[in-house]
Each structure stands twice: as structure tokens, then as C-alpha cells.
């Protein structure tokens, strides 16, 4: 059963008022503009036992994504494709309200948002992740670890996922003349990422006294605690909408949709620029074989 959250950490009234006051003046308590994300820091390749890994700080929110690529069996309805399996764990390290145990509904929802953002737009060419057609394919396990929670886990997870995918290495598979399959010892192949995709999350904050509504990009934890609704929209680098999710206890007025869509598109572009910057730098500094 899904239940109205009852264990939300409470924000002091004075802090809440400060946030609202800043918003009423057109800026934010951490001096960001409404449409600016927090600072982004990136590391990759930090987990030797993973095929790919990334560590992303979005402000003080910290996410670690690890990818394992292992031989598996195709699903009956997609015999010619590899499998993508996305899981999310809220580490108990990350927040006083996270408890160890099986993923709760928020973690399940987050995993499914990331999964959907990638799947139908075919961000990964799963048809290239086949070892023996119909029999053996690659399972791509993406495990997302929220390590420190300071708001907007979705976008931090999405960025980390994309970076882990872009930097992952998997074994080369080749076929001998006699048709035998050889999986190379060495990991040298990239995962075939055809399109970069990121989610971009906009929060709605309503000032109960004035009735004013504010839409802000990449909410921090204290902004999330005041926000009544989040809208997450996923975009591919060629501008398509590849997913959408409204969450939270309130609703969105139909007339506000275009504003949210524009804000989230711009936010996604910033995230994508950051990803591209990191990958370009990494590629240029890594000697090619």
C-alpha cells in the first residue's frame, strides 16, 4: 500500500518563511535563479569491480551509480535484445529517515522513471547487446545508490546513470569461423549509447498566505520539503520528450504546463552540457588505443 508520507523531516517555520521571501523577490535562498541547477561534480571509474561507475554531486546530493554487465537470457518477447535492469537503493547513510531494507515506493518509482526515460527512445541499442541471438544476451544492471540526500534525487540519479553508461566497458564478443562464440577476457567495448537522455525536475512551491505559485528548477531538500508537487520530464539530446512524471501531494494547473515544460527543457540542456563537457574532457585526456 502506498501511504501519505508521515516521516518527513520538518523544516523550521522561520526557514520556510525565508525561502518564501526569497522566492517572492524572484530569487532563491541559496542565491540561485529559479531556473538554475546547483553545482555539479562528477567522478567516474571509481569501482574497479563494476563495468562502469560514476559519482555525481548535485549540490550536496550525492549519487553513486554502478553498472554490471553479465550474460543472461533474453525475455521471450525480445529474443534479439539485451536486458536493462535498473534498481535504486536509498542508502541509510543518506538521510535520517531512510531505513535499510527492500526498496520503498519512492526508490521503486525512481528506478522506473530512469528506466522509462531510457527504454522507449532506445537510448541504449539493446539489439547490439546480444551474445547468441535468442539464447544469450547481456544483462545491463544499473544500480543507483543515493549516498547523501539533499533534494532532487531523480536528476542526480539520471545524470549518474548516463555517465556510468557512457564510461562503462564490456567484454568484446566475437565469433570464430566455426561459429563458436568467444567472450574476450579484456573489457574494451563501450555500451552502445545511441542518445544521451536526462531527466529534469521542476518543483512547484505555493505560498499559502499569498496564493503565489513558484516553479523552480532542481529543488534542494529544503525547497522539496516546502514544494507540493514535482514534475520530472526526460529529454533526449535531440529534443524529444522521453518520459514524464508528476509526483507529490498536489496538482498542476493545466495552464502552467508550458512554463514547466520550457523550464525543464532548459534544465535538461544544462545537464546534458555538463555530461558532454565531462565526457569530452575524459576522452581527450585518455589516450586512445
Amino acid at each position: 500500500m502506498s501511504m501519505t508520507p508521515v516521516e518527513i523531516p520538518i523544516i523550521p517555520k522561520i526557514r520556510k518563511n525565508a525561502i518564501l521571501t526569497f522566492l517572492s523577490r524572484g530569487t532563491r535562498v541559496d542565491e540561485r535563479s529559479f531556473d538554475s541547477p546547483r553545482e555539479i561534480n562528477i567522478k567516474t571509474d571509481l569501482i574497479p569491480n563494476a563495468n562502469g561507475s560514476s559519482y555525481v554531486e548535485l549540490g550536496k546530493t550525492k549519487v553513486l551509480a554502478g553498472i554490471k554487465v553479465e550474460p543472461g537470457t533474453p525475455f521471450p518477447d525480445t529474443p534479439q535484445e539485451g536486458n536493462l535492469i535498473v534498481s535504486v537503493e536509498f542508502l541509510p547513510h543518506a538521510s535520517p529517515v531512510f531505513e535499510p531494507g527492500p526498496p520503498d515506493e519512492r526508490a521503486v518509482e525512481l528506478a522506473r522513471i530512469i528506466d522509462r526515460s531510457l527504454r522507449d527512445v532506445r537510448a541504449i541499442d539493446l539489439s547490439k547487446m546480444v551474445i547468441t541471438p535468442g539464447r544469450k544476451v547481456w544483462n545491463i544492471f544499473i544500480d543507483i545508490y543515493v549516498v547523501d540526500y539533499d533534494g532532487n534525487m531523480i536528476d542526480a540519479s539520471s545524470i549518474a546513470t548516463m555517465l556510468a553508461l557512457l564510461t562503462a566497458k564490456i567484454p568484446k564478443v566475437s565469433t570464430t569461423e566455426t561459429g563458436e562464440i568467444i567472450i574476450s577476457e579484456e573489457k574494451s567495448e563501450n555500451i552502445p549509447v545511441k542518445k544521451k537522455v536526462v531527466t529534469a525536475t521542476i518543483a512547484k512551491i505555493t505560498d499559502e498566505n499569498t496564493g503565489n505559485k513558484y516553479y523552480i528548477a532542481d529543488p534542494s531538500l529544503e525547497e522539496e520539503m516546502i514544494a507540493d508537487t514535482l514534475v520530472t520530464i526526460a529529454f533526449s539530446e535531440d529534443g524529444l520528450i522521453t518520459g514524464m512524471q508528476k509526483s507529490g501531494l498536489s496538482s498542476i494547473h493545466s495552464d502552467d504546463i508550458p512554463k514547466i515544460l520550457n523550464m525543464s527543457r532548459k534544465l535538461a540542456e544544462k545537464y546534458l552540457a555538463k555530461i558532454n563537457e565531462y565526457i569530452t574532457l575524459k576522452t581527450s585526456t585518455t589516450p586512445s588505443i
Binding site: 500500500m1 524529444l240 520528450i241 522521453t242 518520459g243 498536489s250 498542476i252 493545466s254 527543457r265
Partner: protein, 245 residues
């Protein structure tokens, strides 16, 4: 979704859909309110072959005190599919999809319920998919909002939901399972129609911005029609003209 099979034809030469509908046409919709004896509120909804039974218990005092909130009612919501509701028998254990949809549906109903009226209570919402043929979450929201009303729980507005699909390039209202499976996108939407507030919005699949706005407009058309049927069903129930099923 997205499994393109070249041989499958989802439109006739006249542009009608596999079940004979125009692209902007809803399936036959059946709504009954107050179908159960024990529940405080209940509703049965069909969108074509999608069949939903919703029940509401509450506001009530649950066993567990720690889930009560001092300033509002706690909503609990379960979306569940019967093992016999799907093409292949579904395990009764809740899937990840059911866990997510229970949350999405609860959050589609939260904005409508005047939860401040019942502090320190719980309102339980149970949605059972008896037969699944696409659009189960939106039909579930439609049914649950009627069950809430039937339970006498005050609401800002009813919530009505419907999905819009993109199928072989064409936007279609209230797609069925086959259209969903072979389509390119599914946009489920639920809203409080009078307030024009959207309470559920998801997109599974790929749309251009232009397509998205057209699809949303189409969803509104459907929602408004369903809203009218919801109100008729409530009227019928409370006019006392009909005994419970």
C-alpha cells in the same frame, strides 16, 4: 510498448481503430457506484474490457497510531491486479509496477480529498483490476474518486482519468492494450476537471513537444466526457432509483 511488428495493422483504411473507434473516441464506459455492502464507499468502472472494482474504508482509526497525522487524514492506496486479469496469469505478490502505480494513484487523489477535515484518521483506497485491457491506472483513478465520494468524503472535485496513445504516428484517445503494446507512447492523465488541475501525469514513450500538447488536449476531451458520466452515476446512485448490484 514500442515493439514494432511490421505486419500489425492498427487502423483500417478508413482511419478507424482495431475496435472500430475513431482516434478521438472513448471506449464504451460503464460506471456503477455503491456496489458493495461492507465498504464505506465503492464503485465499479469499465472502460471497454478494462474492469475495475474500487472500495474505500474510512475515515477510520487504524491499529497503528504512528501513521496518523495531526493535521490531516493519512491516505493509503493499493492498486492491484487480479491473477486472472491479465493475458498470462499474474502472481498475486505486488510487482514493482503495482508499487509505483499505488503511489501515482494515491498522489492523483490526494489533491482532491479534503484531508484537513479528518485529522488523525486513515482513509483506505483499494483498487482492484479485474480485467486489464489498457488504461487500468486511469480507470482506477476514476473508480477510486467515485468510491471516495460514495463514502461521503468531502472532495474539491471528482478526479477523472484517461490515457492518450501515439499509435503508428496517430494520437488516439483511451487506447486499449493492443494499441498500447504496439504504440509509440502512452500519456495517462487524470485531473479535477472543474478546476483544470492535473493530478496525474506520466509519459511512457516518446513524443515531440507538439505531439505532447495535442495529446494533452485530447486527454482533456476524454476527461471531460468521463467526468459527465461520473456525475450521472453519482446522481443515479443517490436518486435512489437503483439498488446496489
Amino acid at each position: 510498448m514500442g515493439i514494432l511488428k511490421p505486419g500489425i495493422k492498427l487502423f483500417t483504411d478508413e482511419g478507424l481503430r482495431i475496435d472500430g473507434r475513431r482516434p478521438d473516441q472513448l471506449r464504451p464506459i460503464k460506471i456503477e457506484v455503491g456496489v458493495l455492502k461492507n465498504a464505506d464507499g465503492s464503485a465499479y468502472v469499465e472502460y471497454g474490457n478494462t474492469k475495475i472494482l474500487a472500495a474505500v474504508y474510512g475515515p477510520r482509526d487504524p491499529g497503528a497510531r504512528h501513521i496518523l497525522l495531526p493535521n490531516r487524514a493519512t491516505l493509503r492506496c493499493r492498486y492491484h491486479m487480479a491473477p486472472f486479469s491479465t493475458h498470462e496469469r499474474k502472481s498475486p505478490a505486488p510487482s514493482r509496477r503495482e508499487i509505483e502505480l499505488s503511489k501515482v494513484i494515491r498522489e492523483a487523489l490526494e489533491p482532491a480529498v479534503i484531508v484537513e477535515a479528518f485529522p488523525r484518521t486513515v482513509i483506505d483506497i483499494f483498487i482492484e483490476v479485474l480485467n486489464a485491457d489498457g488504461g487500468t491506472r486511469t480507470a482506477g483513478v476514476t473508480a477510486a474518486s467515485l468510491a471516495l465520494a460514495d463514502a461521503g468524503i468531502p472532495m474539491r472535485d471528482l478526479v477523472a482519468g484517461v490515457a492518450v496513445g501515439k499509435v503508428q504516428g496517430i494520437l488516439v484517445l483511451d487506447e486499449n492494450e493492443q494499441e498500447d503494446m504496439y504504440g509509440e507512447a502512452d500519456l495517462p492523465v487524470a485531473a479535477m476537471p472543474t478546476l483544470r488541475e492535473i493530478t496525474l501525469l506520466q509519459l511512457n514513450g516518446v513524443l515531440t513537444e507538439e505531439e505532447f500538447y495535442k495529446a494533452l488536449e485530447l486527454a482533456w476531451q476524454g476527461i471531460n466526457q468521463i467526468y459527465k458520466l461520473q456525475k450521472e452515476a453519482l446522481k443515479k446512485r443517490y436518486a435512489g432509483a437503483e439498488e446496489e448490484e
